[in-house]
Amino acid sequence: MIELILVSHGSFAAGLREAAEMILGEQEQVSVLGVYQGDSPESFTLKLEQLIDEADDPKNVLVLSDLQSGTPYNAGMVMALRKGSSCIAGTNLPMLLEILSLRDEAEMEELLQIACSTGKAGIINSSDLLANYRRKEESK
């Protein structure tokens, strides 16, 4: 099973895990780490490193971060370079749900691909949906 560490600004990571567990039930091997006002990037990176070191195999750890170039992402990428773990930016709930349901069997590379395409596909614009719907209704 691929181990997950959700990292974010503030409590987004903890909230995201809570939301996912509401839908899928309690999950194993999902840690969360938030950066808060006054935390330095260095101390955050150190905390993330400790979490990754506790994992059975760092190469089997996926860090899910909220925002590219933010402190949580930067720390996740530094770990990817140093420890061989993986990292995604722009994590959302559709992506996390997909990862949680596939991480038992999928290989890391495959999981990364699916996670990113699911995350993108989960972003919906109501105008597009309404326009499609109206077009269909009119053609009836």
């Binding site: 006002q37 006054g38 990037p41 170039s69 933010g70 930067n74 990428m77 530094v78 370079l81 140093r82």
Partner: protein, 157 residues
């Protein structure tokens, strides 16, 4: 001198925002000036990965940046990117000529106050900007090229 833009943004090089500025100015080179960042080689690598394609990036200390900025040729268009006003102040003190400063995103932190919605500054940082403005440097707040800009003079701390 071919520095197209001096920008303050505490995230330094990051995805969409940098891409937008790079496109509008046809930037071929990004010069990040931040003493602390240069010491973290892994973070430098991460930052280089976030650079829009077609762009070179150099991450330099203040002392290293001065000759690089002064020698930048007319055929390359560069952005100088810093985290805080004090870095630009230091460059000026070392002889770099700056005519215009774009202030972008600076996140919240201890002692910081929102002078714009996405720009949180300390009193010191704000005063540093005011000091540079008093010397004739045009300072404006603008997050993205297509966003509205706001002149420093219109803001209070």
């Amino acid at each position: 001198m071919s520095i197209s833009l001096y920008r303050i943004d505490d995230r330094l090089v990051h995805g969409q925002v940098m891409t937008a500025w790079v496109r509008i100015y046809n930037i071929t080179k990004i010069i990040v000036v931040d003493d602390l960042t240069t010491k973290n080689t892994f973070l430098c690598d991460v930052m280089k990965m976030a650079v829009p394609s077609g762009c070179n990036v150099q991450i330099l200390t203040i002392a290293e940046a001065v000759p690089v900025i002064q020698a930048s040729g007319a055929n390359e268009k560069a952005i100088v990117l810093v985290k805080a006003p004090a870095t630009l102040r230091a460059l000026i003190d070392l002889g770099v000529v700056i005519n215009e400063i774009n202030v972008g995103n600076v996140g919240a932190g201890p002692g910081r106050k929102a002078v714009m919605r996405s720009t949180q500054l300390t009193k010191d940082e704000f005063d540093t900007l005011v000091g540079m403005s008093a010397k004739g440097i045009h300072i404006y707040f603008q997050m993205l090229p297509e966003a509205k800009s706001m002149e420093l003079e219109k803001l209070k701390f």
